[in-house]
């Protein structure tokens, strides 16, 4: 296992860090957005930021599924869960995200709603089979990695003739969000976000391939490097981005060739296409409405579409006041700029979604940022 030894003695990491330090032009700033929360997590866990020069900074992107779900959709899910005879099934992270007035699914559950945490859409189907007299709603969230399992579940429900299963579909798409971040005008009173290149997501790209990023890279003149989620992958991808920026190139390059191809997983794409279609527009927390950025259930599967089967009342949904999640998701603020960070908002008592999920930037700052600050203080006192 030569790779592991290389990682353990850090030789390759040092070599990559050395190359980055040599090639990064000290007279310019490199703002690299890692779109995916998995990368944010890896950058913090391994202290990657400390291995690169100070003029290379990672800007944390909105690729955290529970973070970008707008409060309104969460409020709708809570309303659905509280309906008579409904079982709401969802992934674990969704349970503790605060909606309007900090109400969450876990609080709805305490009030008597039947909310089940599932690991897989297969589990949600099992709940429906085991409870034929109740309506099972699968609260589906996530990017392109979690979308194919939702499509498979709907196809399976149809094949089995399951009449009590439906999906509240909130699946979103990565490439339109990347394009939006680059082209959207700055929010009044905010500095525009500075991005010189993107680290593209690992497993999302294993499904969609690298080709879907090409139009955005071309149109907005920003290089994209699809990166694996391991620390060496992140370092190597950083070097690839710096080389592109230095050379004035704006291409889509693939560092994660072990898993990602240009075409992606064709079978998964075909299954998704069979069941789901583009939404004209969809709201993202932090980004607002983004055109063609989400998926909905096709008319031919209307019987499995929660939004067509249940009435959901219009509501005045509201973000928690003074929570800076939206600006953090746009990449214009750091978690530590938020006055709730670490005071009223902690992973045990999250106010904003970015503190709930391990993929959220606030949770990453909380878990690893303090440790990093401590190490730096020690180094300072030793010097």
């Amino acid at each position: 296992m030569k790779y592991i030894r290389e990682f353990r003695d850090g030789a390759l990491a040092r070599k990559l860090a050395g190359a980055i330090a040599r090639e990064a032009d000290p007279d310019r700033q490199y703002h690299l957005m890692e779109f995916c929360g998995g990368h944010t997590h890896a950058i913090f866990r391994y202290g990657v930021q400390d291995l690169v020069p100070a003029n290379v900074t990672y800007v944390h992107g909105p690729g955290c599924p529970v973070c970008v779900l707008p409060v309104r959709r969460l409020d709708d899910a809570i309303e659905l869960a509280l309906k008579e005879n409904v079982i709401l099934a969802t992934y674990g992270d969704m349970m503790r995200v605060p909606g309007t007035k900090r109400k969450s699914l876990i609080r709805a559950k305490a009030e008597g709603a039947d909310v089940r945490m599932v690991y897989s859409t297969q589990d949600a189907l099992r709940v429906a089979r085991d409870n034929p007299h109740r309506q099972v709603v699968f609260f589906a969230i996530g990017f392109e990695t979690t979308t194919p399992p939702t499509a498979v579940a709907i196809l399976q429900a149809k094949a089995e003739g399951l009449k009590n299963f439906s999906v509240f579909c909130n699946h979103v798409l990565t490439p339109p969000a990347i394009a939006h971040i680059v082209k959207a005008p700055a929010v009044p009173g905010e500095e525009p976000v500075k991005i010189d290149g993107f680290l593209g997501p690992s497993h999302v790209s294993s499904v969609i391939g690298s080709a879907p990023y090409e139009p955005a890279a071309r149109e907005f003149q920003k290089p994209v490097v699809i990166a694996g989620f391991e620390p060496l992958d992140v370092l190597q991808s950083t070097l690839m981005l710096i080389r592109q920026i230095n050379a004035g190139r704006c291409e889509v390059e693939n560092q994660y060739t072990r898993v990602v191809t240009r075409e992606g997983n064709r079978k998964a794409q075909a299954l998704v296409d069979q069941v789901l279609e583009l939404r004209r527009t969809f709201e993202w927390r932090g980004l607002g409405y983004v055109a063609d950025s989400a998926l909905k259930i096709r008319e031919s599967f209307a019987g499995f579409n929660t939004e067509q089967r249940f009435f959901v009342s219009p509501k005045e949904s509201r973000e928690v006041k003074s929570c800076d999640c939206p600006a953090v998701l746009r990449g214009v603020k750091k978690p530590t700029d938020c006055k709730l960070f670490g005071t009223t908002c902690t992973p045990d008592n999250p106010v904003g979604a970015c503190m709930v999920s391990s993929e959220g930037a606030c949770a990453a700052y909380w878990s690893y940022g303090r440790k990093r600050a401590g190490v730096r203080a020690m180094e300072g006192s030793a010097a």
Binding site: Y3, G38, R96, V118, Y119, Q122, E230, N265
Partner: protein, 109 residues
């Protein structure tokens, strides 16, 4: 694949502040093909049914990336070992295994 130190205790429910990484997929070895697009994978002593509906072909002995109960992608044994080792070093593996072990939570009526 080597068994993990002591194996992971299967947990019935996740603690309330446990987080769940929706981008991460974990490598596992296919130990049986069970029909209906299902297979059983083994990882660090845990056996779990996963859906293979997203793969064209899968055989016993293949390594696959598992995400939310679905095999997303096939990968080489070397890549699987390497990824698992890195995840173990990063402390991510225990959490992911917990997630998989606790997979059949709350499905009863």
């Amino acid at each position: 694949m080597r068994p993990g130190p002591g194996g992971m205790p299967a947990r019935k429910t996740l603690p309330p502040n446990r987080s769940f990484n929706m981008c991460l997929a974990i490598p596992a070895r296919v130990v049986s093909i069970d029909g209906n697009d299902m297979a059983t994978v083994a990882l660090e002593g845990i056996r779990k049914p996963v859906s293979t509906a997203l793969l064209e072909q899968v055989a016993v002995g293949d390594y696959v990336l598992v995400h939310v109960g679905y095999a997303l992608h096939k990968l080489s044994e070397e890549e699987a070992e390497r990824t698992l080792q890195l995840m173990a070093e990063a402390g991510v593996l225990a959490e992911e295994l917990d997630e998989i072990a606790g997979a059949d939570v709350e499905t009863g009526s």
